[in-house]
Point group: C2
Chain length 558, copies 2
């Protein structure tokens, strides 16, 4: 144990470590603060790395946000790079450090220890995985190597395979395509962005198709094909072979918890270092933050890993404050709010999807609307598809997902903000959002979704899920004949086509005793028709959620 001023030692600079160190310094000018980083760069913008590879961020130096030099001068931090912590002695409060490349060992005493070791890409032990041209993207050195490979490959060699269609995988696919690579994306799950609900990701899948990015689903990587040590492709478990001189492994990350486990710190249920609301581990003198730690998550109210930069920054900052002063605000619950751009489309989510809610054993309902990001009469209105998941009993919002060209980030941030206060769909219906034609609508997509959910809760009209089996239903399509011809409803053999404006006059064509589902373009006219039928003696009338537009995503045309 040190005997002089308070000594704070931080393990790992990137995933919240620099935030912890600089906050600790601002809180405590006298403390000795040691920042140990096993790599060369103590802090860098890891979220920006795909964009430097793709050339969208041409200047590499821009990613080196807080250099060791700046941290030393401005924050008087004792920054030591190439310094890997290999052991924690909790009894004597000393860490053992191995210095690279010479492998000498030294010791650093601590009063407070902050673990921000981050996570490492999952790399399966497959045949050929060590071939030239096979990469995972974890740090600046990886980035540099990938960028060099991208620059070096020419002609027919400019073919890449990205393993994993998660957020990072799709960023890499986009950026490699922008460098004129033929890109294939391989995903074990049946669709891109596996954390999202299947029908929600269709607009991004279509964008990938338009941009000639090939996708392969439902089969994992079996082996890497190579020729004289150079990767030439991959083979999937189903036997499919895909050509590629560049392979990016983007199958997710594994928390760097070895050090914590060996030190006997408690590990949580999801495999991250267990922490309390001040990011203290089971040893109150040791904190953890970033991708290796667990956070209290909303709305599950469970402690889970969330490998995202935002929570890492906030958690690091408050761990640094608490370590330096013995007090801080509590870490706010994390909802896993995440976003990705794929060419001209964006997908974002917060909280629980329907499938995650079901997995968590939570009863849920969902509502999906498709509406412009701003007033429809204003130029460049593009549809946002917004799905809100809520509790049928209380209306509490459990999560949201959105896709679209513009304004997706705003809607998800607004809903994530509302969720932080335990909002219900009724609360969302009353939000006072900024409106002028270039920015929104008097009835925002959030309002429209909330109105629909409130209608359902108030017994004014229930929705039917877009992928529902419609056999046995009386299906009424209330669109115009022209609309129906262009995009018929899928997965249905018999449809009654009655435009909504004719419905009152032609109501006798329908059987009021039959369970009836209405469909229209996106669900707006469907609600009008539903209300007419419900008030004219029809017993069971549902409105198809998201109309035929969403139906055709959920149940593709054969």
């Amino acid at each position: 144990m040190s005997t002089g001023p308070l000594r704070i030692v931080i393990v790992g600079g990137v995933a919240g470590g620099a935030s912890a160190a600089t906050r600790a310094r601002r809180m405590n000018e006298q403390a000795e603060i040691v920042l140990l980083e096993k790599d060369e760069f103590v802090s860098f913008a890891n979220c920006g790395m795909p964009y430097h590879i793709g050339g969208e961020i041409p200047d590499r130096a821009k990613l080196l946000v807080a250099t060791a030099d700046l941290l030393r001068k401005r924050f008087r931090l004792d920054v030591r790079i190439h310094s890997e912590v290999i052991q924690i002695d909790r009894a004597s409060k000393v860490v053992t450090v191995r210095k690279w490349p010479d492998k000498t060992v030294f010791h650093v005493a601590y009063d407070k220890l902050i673990l921000t070791p981050g996570a490492s890409p999952i790399v399966q032990n497959l045949d050929g995985v060590g071939s030239t041209g096979v990469f995972a993207l974890r740090n600046i050195a990886d980035m540099d190597r990938i960028r060099s490979a991208v620059d070096a490959l020419t002609g027919t060699q400019r073919k890449a395979v990205v393993i994993g269609a998660g957020f990072i995988g799709l960023e890499m696919a986009e950026q490699l395509a922008s460098r004129n690579f033929d890109v294939a994306v391989v995903e074990l799950q049946p669709h891109i962005l596996p954390p999202m609900d299947a029908e929600m990701v269709v607009p991004l899948q279509e964008e990938l198709n338009r941009e000639n990015v090939k996708t392969y689903f439902g089969s994992g990587l079996s082996r890497i094909l190579h020729d004289k040590g150079q990767v030439v492709g991959v083979e999937l478990e189903n036997g499919t072979q895909i050509e590629g001189h560049l392979v990016i492994l983007g199958m997710g990350v594994r928390p760097n918890t070895k050090l914590a486990i060996e030190a006997g710190l408690e590990i949580g249920k999801t495999g991250g270092i267990a922490t309390n609301e001040f990011q203290q581990t089971s040893d109150p003198d040791i904190y953890a933050a970033g991708d290796a730690a667990e956070y209290l998550c909303y709305p599950q109210n469970q402690r889970m890993r969330v490998p995202l930069a935002g929570p890492a920054n906030r958690a690091g900052r408050l761990a640094g404050e608490h370590a330096a002063t013995g007090r801080s605000a509590a870490m706010s619950p994390v909802m896993g709010t995440a976003i990705v751009r794929v060419f001209h489309q964006t997908a974002a989510m917060t909280g629980l999807t329907v499938k995650a809610a079901k997995r968590a054993g939570l009863e849920c309902r969902s509502v999906t609307v498709i509406a412009g990001q701003h007033a429809g009469y204003f130029p460049d209105a593009y549809p946002i598809t917004l799905k809100i998941v809520y509790s049928p009993d209380t209306g509490k919002v459990l999560g949201a997902q959105a896709t679209g060209r513009d304004g997706v980030d705003k809607r998800i941030d607004v809903i994530a903000t509302a969720m932080a206060f335990g909002a219900t769909v009724r609360d969302l219906a009353g939000l006072d959002l900024a409106y002028a034609p270039p920015f929104g609508s008097a009835k925002d997509p959030i309002h429209q979704a909330a109105f629909t959910a409130c209608n359902e809760m108030d017994g004014l009209g229930s929705m039917l899920d877009a992928d529902a089996d419609l056999s046995g239903w009386q299906v009424v399509d209330v669109r115009t004949p022209g609309e129906i011809a262009k995009a018929p409803i899928t997965g249905v053999s018999k449809v009654s086509a009655i435009p909504v404006d004719d419905l009152r006059n032609r109501i006798l064509e329908l059987d009021p005793a039959k369970p009836t589902v209405i469909c229209c373009g996106v669900g707006v006219r469907g609600h009008v028709a539903q209300r007419i039928l419900l008030q004219r003696g029809f017993k069971n009338v549902l409105n198809l959620s998201g109309g035929v537009t969403l139906r055709r995503r959920a149940v593709p045309e054969k």
Copy 2:
């Protein structure tokens, strides 16, 4: 009183009236619903009118959102245009209607009456106000006339004067400039966007300057100059004459309350029709919504007029539901969230400004940050200036204002959403917002502002307002010499220039007993310096809010 089915009569289609009528129909298929509109168009997108004049919305038909024909066919509404309600007989529940242009009179009985008469532009009774080329913009006919005038004026006649630099005035100025008019804007208050705090609007003022829109402040309109009945300019009360063949009167609106007043309905303190949470007036069978009604406003908790389209739509909708069924959700408090685009800049606000809080007698503090709308290392990062007004006791957020190129709408919507739940700045600090380089930062401008406010509340460093009188202060500029040379701090005679990274070494150059203010670029390094000095024996150290960037907006260079 009618004796058949429930009869709902709605007065005015635009400001929430169509929302009320269509919701009433969806709730009650049997009711008779009469929509009386004194003009030709029963529903149109009035917020879009400036953009049709400017040509950004070329197709006029796009503004006619819900035509009378559609409302009749789809919602079975009894729509009567050119029908002006001139009297309400509350005892017999009958309205008297004058039909234009023949001025015949008829009567309509009601069970429930919904008043959505909107507001009218304020037109002062000035010499020359009736000249050709002088317009207010209230309805489609006005829009058509202005557009014709814009098309007809040629050469040196293409000069316009917009009276009023509020939200609509600036939209008109932008659109006329885009039609190659020389545009002058006249504002009685000392700056554009008078509802906002003065230093906040500077980026938009600079944008107007760049686009050659002239602005005149502090003097009202005295008379309209005309020649043979055609306007040729205006004269201000200070004698200034401004040339112009087109004059747009955009001095705000007056609620159309004459009918309600004559019917003896209660009028609220701000001159709008008083309503309860279901939009019922003092007569429970009469509802009011839209620009003529008052709403409960947050955070003042007072009932006020808010002439904005969003609340009008929501209030109309719930008035229609309550009239049709006797029940509805309560209207959510309104925060006056508003937004305007001015060329490439945007300004938005919600809740109270500092000056509004002071006027309301509420103690407040504010914090202002200037930070990119997304990661600084990603291309096209532009600064957002974000000001959050909060209660110093509780940290409760009272309001926010923002300006910038992109992402202003998102930040204001997020804060408006948080305010709906009574959020404090501590809540804002913990928001889990979506982050990827194209969309935000791991520390969003909202987080940065909230962190700063929390620091102040926790006694970790107070801010000094950007426009403060700095005489008597020890002013320490911690920027680099190069930055200081480019943009020196304004309104200060003596400055100690010590770069933040040298501060610890050069601390003896400063007097710890003197009240000290730190300034830097935007306030980030200032906080680091402030913490160093506060922990090294300096008694009173403040950080200049928004740094020299905001200072130079609040205290312009002489």
